[in-house]
Symmetry: C2
Subunit: 388 residues, 2 copies
């Protein structure tokens, strides 16, 4: 079992394009990934599609075959849905398919169309990632759920809105030069603190935006890469997954995410590394508090300690552990089914040296991605390594 090679990656520009269908977005990202890899489409042996709510946003399920055909691919095609972790979970299936010899070439992509639903429609659509009986029917939406988590964090561990504001400011700064990011703008602490309150303590700039977009990657086996002269510098050396209750009320703690902990344990074991070996990472910052909880669950900080990581400059681009150099969900954007693939795409480019922020981590060889669904009822992680 040899780790799959990331032969190529691709992304649409993330942003607002309500007129573009999922198939249109997916085809662009997939085509870009195929071109980047040099792999001809007829060599693709399996296709995995991450999508969360096409059924609701454009009356379209059964996206496996639809996305395959949008790319002119006839290989077996499978849709994976795990809420906002749909993309990362699709990557996980593709990783397992290639490393186990089920396929020599896998195309994996994620896509989400959201703006056509309107803000209220998208918020309602996103809510089906929560527990209908115990949360949705009682009015819980995700800004509210993460607000509960942030409030509880402040009570248990301390910290305040300004600590969280540093997360948003950092991620916007990272996205400022990223041509694919939805918001290529720096913001100030004051702007975050003064923003419209969505669900206190979550303000407008504590939340990731509604985004249309797609991202994709081509994974190939070592044998295929050797036989076809494919760039084999970046590999996915580990995958991990964790599961928790959908409803917050069924959990022991609002400020500890066992799904992330389980996904971290598995991915480190799988890759044969520890958290200390990770040079930089992309985490699921759907809300600023989510980045804090991710850094603790992944083992980079003790419980209650990550709240000041951005403020202290430890996770900024020039810090010891750069987090979300792409701009993260906050500033790069969060087309939910595509997010896990966007992480793979951005990290691959960062490791290869062809990302706008590659200079920041010029000597790095090991990166981690963390993609979550709901209030982290699903977490999925991958370790990517480069052979420079």
């Amino acid at each position: 079992m040899t780790p799959p090679i990331v032969a190529g990656v691709g992304m649409t520009t993330f942003g607002e394009s309500p007129e573009r269908t999922s198939r249109d977005l997916f085809a662009e990202a997939g085509e870009t990934a195929l071109e980047d890899s040099g792999v001809p489409r007829e060599d693709v042996e399996t296709l995995y599609v991450g999508n969360f709510m096409g059924d609701l946003s454009e009356n379209q399920g059964h996206m496996g075959p639809l996305m395959a055909k949008s790319l002119g691919i006839t290989a077996p095609a499978t849709r994976i849905e795990s809420a906002c972790a749909s993309g990362g979970m699709a990557v996980r299936q593709a990783v397992m398919a290639v490393r186990n010899g089920e396929a020599d070439v896998a195309l994996v992509g994620g896509v989400e169309r959201m703006h056509n639903m309107g803000t209220a429609g998208a918020t309602a659509g996103l809510s089906v990632a929560a527990d209908d009986l115990w949360e949705i029917q009682h009015g819980v939406t995700f800004p509210g759920a993460y607000a509960l988590m942030a409030q509880r964090y402040f009570e248990v561990h301390g910290g305040d809105r300004e600590d969280l504001a540093h997360v948003a400011v950092k991620n916007h700064a990272n996205a400022a030069n990223n041509p694919l990011a939805q918001y290529q703008t720096e913001i100030s602490i004051e702007k975050v603190l003064d923003a419209f309150p969505v669900a206190p303590p979550v303000g407008l700039f504590d939340a990731s935006p509604i985004t249309d977009g797609a991202a994709a990657a081509v994974l190939v086996s070592e044998e295929y890469a050797e036989a076809n002269d494919v760039d084999d510098s970046v590999t996915i050396t580990g995958t991990g997954q964790g599961t928790d209750d959908l409803a917050l009320q069924h959990r022991e703690s609002l400020v500890w995410t066992p799904a992330t902990v389980d996904a971290a344990e598995e991915v480190y074991d799988d890759a044969g590394i520890t958290a200390d070996d990770v040079d930089f990472l992309e985490v699921h910052d759907c809300f600023t508090i989510a980045e804090v909880l991710a850094l603790e669950g992944l083992g980079f900080y003790d419980e209650g300690e990550a709240i000041t990581a951005a403020r202290d400059g430890e996770t900024t681009a020039d810090g010891d552990l750069p987090v979300n150099l792409s701009g993260g969900l906050k500033a790069k954007g969060h087309p939910v089914g595509a997010t896990g693939l966007a992480q793979i795409s951005e990290v691959t480019k960062l490791l290869r040296g062809d990302h706008v922020n590659s200079d920041v981590i010029a000597d790095a060889d090991t990166a981690l991605t963390h993609n979550a669904g709901g209030t982290v009822a699903t977490a999925v992680t991958h370790v990517l390594e480069v052979d420079r």
Copy 2:
């Protein structure tokens, strides 16, 4: 790579239970499968869930973690959606996970809640398995799509409604003694021919019903079975998958299903058998014409030849090649996300000898399942073998 063992199976009664939630149905089927296997729930290392339209029927996505927790399982849990093939596709992921050593014990289940949507709601919900831009927006529903396929079949190959009626009569006869079937009633040719026309030539008894239900299976590795004294008599020795255009109009033929052909080629190759080795099978008879097309695509009949198979008694319980001994989708019922699992559950019991129709195939050792999505834009197949 050794084939996964079907350690246990379970099914709810298929029928009408609009008050039961998906989690309730899934938990019953999963619990039954666990009990049947003797495997403790804490040994489950991965869980796959097949579900098509929970987002639409009960405002519930993200069913992986939800179904895991409904069973008291904390293992990584993943939802697979491939329209009416969602269940079979979930089985395929579980098969690959176990045979490749990614997990020693997988629980795989499928579930669908439909009656709570009402007939019009369920029909509209089901339509998202078709192509929204090229079919749904123009009024195509599945009875209409399969009516086109049946009409075209009659034109190209001959045959008539009475030939198709024999498929319905056969499958009802098979279900008559099946305590889990939705319709445990025999019907006559006259009843089929005189039934309310849904979309000519498809009449009411040419169509599978709207069904609530769930089914599940526990798959384990050979090593686990040996170490834990698990019944290892039934194994899944092959899996296959095929993909085609979602929209009928994009296909070269309305009466030939390349996705089934591809899934058949792969599964025979995977299991090291040919169609001749198959003793009996369950195929996706969502409409009577679908059974005919399946038998041709799977290689049991030449193109245009399967239309009289039921009429000639070749596929009846006492025929040379019994098809849908469970009653099929037509009479056992078709809770779409559960159907692929129901096939595995029924075939396992038929092979083990504890199914009401086991006597019919007392010497059989090899069976095939065929589960399709949409108008066969997805097909997924499995070969099950018993060591008597």
